[in-house]
Subunit: 319 residues, 2 copies
């Protein structure tokens, strides 16, 4: 039996919702999600993988739809108790339900299981309907170079501290992938690219989600070696970021906050870039030399709208 | 300024309540609790110290008075979620509030702090009003030798599995203190004995609480080297165990389940045992050669009754 096979590069909320749409659009397809782990962090001794959890919870029906992250019906007892002890950090949204996931992950990692095996074990409960792979089993953590307002000196803080604690309000001068030199694509990633009938870049943050995934040594080469067409979806709609704070990230790399800016940043596959096709939102325009630009609605405002958007991406991939 | 100094050997619920009574009876005294850690266990990657936590929560106002262990107003979200993942073990009462304590303890132990330092750090929140010391900084875990009903073979299971999972229903043939050979009294224990004006054995389980503490190499010798009188309180009242399951433990060591049986097990200090005085409940009798037996109410039915009982123990200690 031969299934059509798709691979999606994804970050958290946006990537997870897009994956849900793709699953609905192609229920018989074999879908592999290659998920950013650069947001991962260890807090209170727990290994936390926000994007992997968001993808698995979203596809498994456990997500808080309103927030876009964490568990529905969440409570915050442990977080409050940790704060009562004065434990740092106290700004991270560590939910009680979510915490069980982190406990199991931490225990398995401590026992020597690689993150890909841990992710598979956790997904066994949630049955997301897609194969969820971390981009790498090696630890890669995005740090953000910011200027200390008091001393004027540059310092690198963990992405979560910049994103969650400071709400990306501190001006960033660079993003650094700590540990990336020793990283390799997780087991299954290269194989999924090679077997893919289409590769999609979800409308996730081009810098700290998709960019982080592409920074894993060997991953970009494996992606480009695939016979499948590579189709990206713009996370910028009408010049605005719909989720997250990509508008705080793109300028750091000199990328214009527009569908065209991101498309040009990814670039044409034929010219050393990534894209065969680039989907931009109705009303947006993008001139990306060497890339098929397709204009379709890109608002993930409902499961149906998201499925239609995924269908359009598959069309652009020629499947 | 010179304070009167008391040391109490204590297990969990009974020891904690007795300590609260002693604190009420002698509010100006400098009280040190030397607490059993043989019940300690690692579950879900968390280091759990049931007796230390019970003592600190009880004295700090955080205990669930009804249960006698764990936090008041407790919730069980993490436990339920762990069970939903199928994580073992699922029979241990791991509360959400309690879990924050375990997270901090585990993190500090992993960072290299000894248990005594961790205990002091946790107590800093609860301000128990007494110095709470683990019996040892080294890991000592009580295991119980039971006979597998299917194979007929002996096997050793962790005390918590025997106590909580099996409710002590499996016949035990021995208690083994795993790790005890490498253990030493925790910092402060020997010094507390040396400086003590009275040493009290709380009405805790004589086998798996007081017995475990006394099993730490050097601790019994330091206790006996103290100039202070040693006074024990019977945990057996009218031939019954008031808390816990000491009646399942005492026979394993051939000790009669009675105030006299336990008193004789501890023995007279003058004859190589521990006791200078032994408190038994009104109506009970005990003939323990060489020991001053004192008959007083030993029901910790109210804070006032417990304080009176502590006062009686101090009287028997001659302070």
């Amino acid at each position: 039996m031969s299934f059509v096979q798709f691979v999606v590069l994804a970050g958290g909320t946006g990537g997870a919702r897009f994956l849900r749409g793709l699953r609905a659009a192609a229920p018989d397809a074999d879908i592999t999600a290659v998920v950013n782990t650069g947001d991962d962090v260890t807090m209170h001794g727990l290994r936390i993988c926000p994007d992997l959890d968001t993808v698995v919870y979203t596809l498994g029906g456990g997500i808080d739809e309103e927030r876009g992250w964490g568990r529905v019906g969440e409570s915050w007892t442990v977080k409050e108790e940790l704060a009562a002890y004065g434990a740092d950090p106290d700004w991270f949204g560590l939910g009680d339900r979510d915490l069980a996931t982190h406990l199991i992950r931490t225990r398995m990692l401590d026992a020597g299981y690689p993150l890909s095996a841990v992710t598979a074990a956790l997904a066994d409960r949630w049955r997301p309907g897609v194969t969820v792979l971390p981009m790498s089993d090696q630890r890669v953590e995005t740090h953000v170079v910011v200027t200390d307002p008091e001393t004027g000196r540059n310092q690198a803080i963990h992405f979560q501290e910049w994103w969650v604690r400071h709400r990306a309000a501190l001006d960033a001068s660079a993003f650094v992938q700590v540990g990336v030199d020793a990283a390799r694509p997780a087991p299954g990633v290269t194989e999924a690219f090679a077997a893919a009938d289409a590769i999609l870049l979800a409308p996730s943050n081009p810098v700290v989600s998709i960019g982080t995934i592409l920074g894993v040594p060997g991953l970009r080469e494996a992606l480009l070696a695939s016979p499948a067409r590579i189709v990206g979806l713009s996370p910028i709609v009408g010049g605005d970021v719909l989720r997250g704070m990509a508008d705080r990230c793109l300028p750091v790399l000199g990328i214009e906050v527009s569908a065209e800016g991101v498309g040009r940043h990814y670039g044409a596959r034929a010219a050393g870039g990534l894209l065969d096709a680039w989907l931009v939102h109705s009303g947006d325009t993008a001139d990306v030399p060497g890339v098929d630009v397709v204009t379709v609605p890109l608002l993930m405002s409902s499961p149906e709208a998201t499925a239609a958007m995924a269908r359009a991406a598959l069309d652009a991939a020629g499947v």
